[in-house]
Symmetry: C2
Subunit: 529 residues, 2 copies
């Protein structure tokens, strides 16, 4: 298989990119174009007429997907082939089976490895269902605190916030992630511990931040005269140091074939979401994700939403050389969704070597960032419209609001205002505006697209999560990088432990050492040299 | 005055940038370097030994500040000269006097314009102090909802979250910003309206989102049988449509010489923060900001923290050509501070023309993004360490935690773990790590710096806010752009209103129109062509 820049299609794209379509030109952004550059699947439309592509560019992009065997690799991933691997050097050598976590809804032939993973997930789901209905009967708990960091925090938290409107009455979730003691204190202060479950999530059972926060929380329970064993739940790998039923009310398993950033639909998210949404609500999340998994696997390239999104991203990144992507949901409930996507995308595709271990001669994962619209319009949109560097945007919109209550003010509803803003921005960014006042001139040609869904409910949220997982995976497949490991986070951890030792050595009394400015910092440097 | 790229210093810098120091090289990151590349002022240290600069580069950068008259312009700004202006075309033509909002703590000669602004601020502060002490006696209120968007939301919200540990007991703030009806519903559901103040903030008194949300909230109060006039407070410009005492419990003024993104220390933030922190707590915020204003104004270039930060940013942006900046506070309380800085920086410096109205031939404001550490370490740090594009980082750290409660786990305190991680990351990013396994190789040379403060309290938070305001202003001064207007947000607003009209026209019943996909979108395009 050729490397990405050497493919015929990449060379075609290179040529096409020397003169991309000018969307600010009279007559280029036509209604016909908008209508044609639209891809639909049940519940979702992808509208990309405001990207700087032509049908020629799209042809070459789909050819690129073919040459780099994107769909074949998606099939391999979902079948459990060992894709988390770098050839010829020590690497994780694992299957990548987050899709098996939600492959629970139909009888079909699937590869034995995936089938086994799916059965393992089923056992945990059944355990969870039983556990939740027991809790239901006892009625002891109203709140849940999730202690976890990275993938054990961001995805589950984003989903919880997205779906709070669907929470069961009087059930709330809270999150402790940072090792910052102020974070843990603030959360523990805000709940009635007697009625609170604590879900501790760490695959290895040895994540420094998570164990520290667990101890922190346990100390609070003890202080209140409460037995942590009646409140704490473990979500961890089999045989990890946390796999110790004597310390927990319940334990659920996770496996190394589900990466942290892909784990929201595993037990990592399931326990907290099952508690707040109810088991059947959480099931809807799984159904939505599964529907998108099937779509990514079986839809033809030109009908495949996540694949098309991946290709448009590669066009912007590698051919138009745009180094960032802003993801802007026009929904306040998705306020933490960009933070999840930041991890998902940047940790997966922020890589500098290919799957054979050679440095890649092109750019991989962009910087992903974003905030909800219309808030962003009153903030960083200035730079997006009139800054010196174009920023590609991915808008996410919904036809209907979550809450049934909406109010007419000045004869329109809020949801209408939200959508009007979304569509107006998409057009304004692409088309720009002429003006004789240089300060009122908008250059346009800011590439953007809209993913439009019906309503942000549990099914849609699951599908949206999976849409981005597959967009990211498809990009990694095309770049031929390993999107499933994260060696880059190791070095900092090792150095942090060294500095901690200095703190320990320095402290004499039972109080935190005042920070020895320079000293630890310098000493660690000395040690490194 | 020369334009920025034509200055002697810029030409020197250009040459120096062709071979920047290699921090991953044995012997370059020395203890001596770390110790020397440190700038201090009371309460703050700026540590920049991990930036890719040498003393030659720093000399040329300070020369650039001199050539572009950065300090003279800062003095002009604080004296009330009309800096919000583009020569020769219609522009806002205003003074820029957010510093006058907190210039309340010493007798000194200042320019008449600034003095007048400061006196106006003082009158509002006195009104607020009286109002708050009246509330105090009545004891009716426990909660406050701030309704505002952009600068009327982000800065005040970031400060509130930063300082929640210092809130008076049983006083909480909430925020409604987005026009998303789900956002407003969720907040209004979460409080006891009887005990709730609502602060509505809009300088023009005509911000669509804010007025909509105000109506939304008023409807709820009516429904509960409560009189909004007993709960609602206006913060607005004199004679705006909202300047109508008959509808509000109290009214406070803001002025056009304080831009939205610079307004957190004006009445925009003062009412909500005064209520939650107490008036004296909010005063501390003002004192901290004022101390930093004085430092920015009077410290010599080589001792000036925000100026030095600005210059390092220009080195990374214009000479090393790095298009983004990640701001990573190692403090969970600063979780929304990057969102505020995103607006502050990107709306101020996301400009493509200079103050004479000509397009600039260089890059201006970068993309600003960030999340608290250590969380980021379990998320996007993979890309930062091993992605294809270097991302400059600005770390913010504190020697002590806010809460007195900290706990030893595995013989170290949480705050020690937090700081160890911060310093370890700084070193790891700069120095990198050799390895025979290409997947464990860290190229290093990721420029970063640390702003280290003592403890995140109201004074420090005010100073931190002002530090970034001045960093941004200094960069704008050096680029010779207008950092104080935001014409780029207009076009989207105009188009959104057009689309809204279509919604209105289409709807026949008293329910939101189902979104006519394509139709409005196409029609607006038709109208534009």
């Amino acid at each position: 298989m050729s490397r990405f820049p050497e493919t015929k299609s990449a060379q075609k794209l290179q040529k096409l990119a020397s003169r991309p379509i000018d969307l600010s030109q009279e007559g280029s952004l036509t209604p016909k174009r908008i209508a044609e550059m639209r891809l639909s699947m049940p519940g979702f439309d992808l509208l990309y007429g405001t990207e700087r592509v032509t049908s020629e560019v799209m042809d070459a992009l789909y050819e690129l997907a073919e040459e780099m065997q994107a769909l074949r690799k998606m099939a391999a991933m979902q079948a459990g082939e060992i894709l988390n691997r770098i050839e010829g050097v020590e690497s994780e050598n694992r299957s990548v089976l987050h899709t098996a976590m939600r492959d629970q809804f139909e009888e079909k032939q699937s590869a034995p490895v995936a089938e086994e993973a799916s059965a393992m997930a089923k056992r945990e789901l059944q355990k969870l269902e039983g556990f939740l209905s027991k809790l239901e009967k006892e009625g002891r708990f109203t709140d849940v605190i999730q202690i976890g960091i990275g993938g054990s925090d961001l995805g589950p938290r984003a989903l919880y916030m997205a779906l709070q409107a669907f929470s069961r009455p009087h059930r709330r979730a809270h999150f402790i992630s940072n090792v910052d003691p102020d974070d843990a204190n603030a959360v523990l202060d805000s709940v009635d511990l007697k009625k609170t479950l604590v879900v501790v999530v760490s695959k290895s059972g040895s994540t420094l931040e998570t164990l520290t926060n667990e101890e922190f929380a346990r100390a609070r329970f003890h202080k209140m005269g409460l037995d942590p064993k009646e409140h704490f739940i473990a979500v961890t790998g089999e045989k990890s140091p946390m796999d110790d039923p004597s310390r927990y009310l319940a334990s659920f398993y996770m496996w190394d074939f589900v990466g942290g950033r892909y784990s929201a639909t595993s037990m990592v998210g399931a326990v907290m979401l099952g508690f707040t949404l109810g088991y059947s609500g959480f099931s809807e999340v799984l159904k939505g994700a599964h529907a998108m998994d099937q779509h990514a696997l079986t839809a033809k390239p030109r009908e495949n939403l996540p694949l098309t999104a991946a290709l448009l991203g590669i066009w912007n990144r590698n051919f138009l050389h745009l180094p960032t992507v802003a993801i802007i949901p026009y929904s306040q409930a998705l306020i933490r969704f960009p933070a999840h996507l930041q991890q998902l995308d940047m940790e997966s595709n922020g890589k500098r070597i290919d799957k054979e271990g050679s440095p890649v001669p092109f750019s991989t994962g962009p910087v992903i960032w974003g905030e909800p619209g219309t808030n962003g319009q009153h903030s960083f949109y200035q730079l997006i419209h009139q800054g010196t560097d174009p920023i590609p945007l991915e808008f996410i919109g919904f036809r209907k609001s979550q809450h049934p209550t909406d109010l007419q003010v000045h004869s329109t509803f809020s949801q209408e205002k939200l959508l009007s803003n979304l569509f107006a921005q998409s057009i304004a960014l692409a088309a720009g505006q002429a003006s004789s006042n240089p300060n009122k001139f908008f250059p346009g040609n800011r590439p953007n697209r809209i993913l439009l869904a019906d309503r942000l409910d549990p099914f849609t949220a699951g599908a949206l999560l999976a849409y981005y997982e597959h967009k990211v995976a498809f990009q990694g497949f095309i770049w031929n990088i390993n999107s499933f490991d994260q060696e880059g986070v190791q070095l900092g951890k090792v150095l942090a432990l060294k500095i901690l030792e200095l703190f320990k050595a320095k402290r004499t009394k039972e109080a935190p050492a005042s920070f020895p400015l320079g000293e630890a910092y310098l000493k660690i440097l000395n040690e490194k040299r």
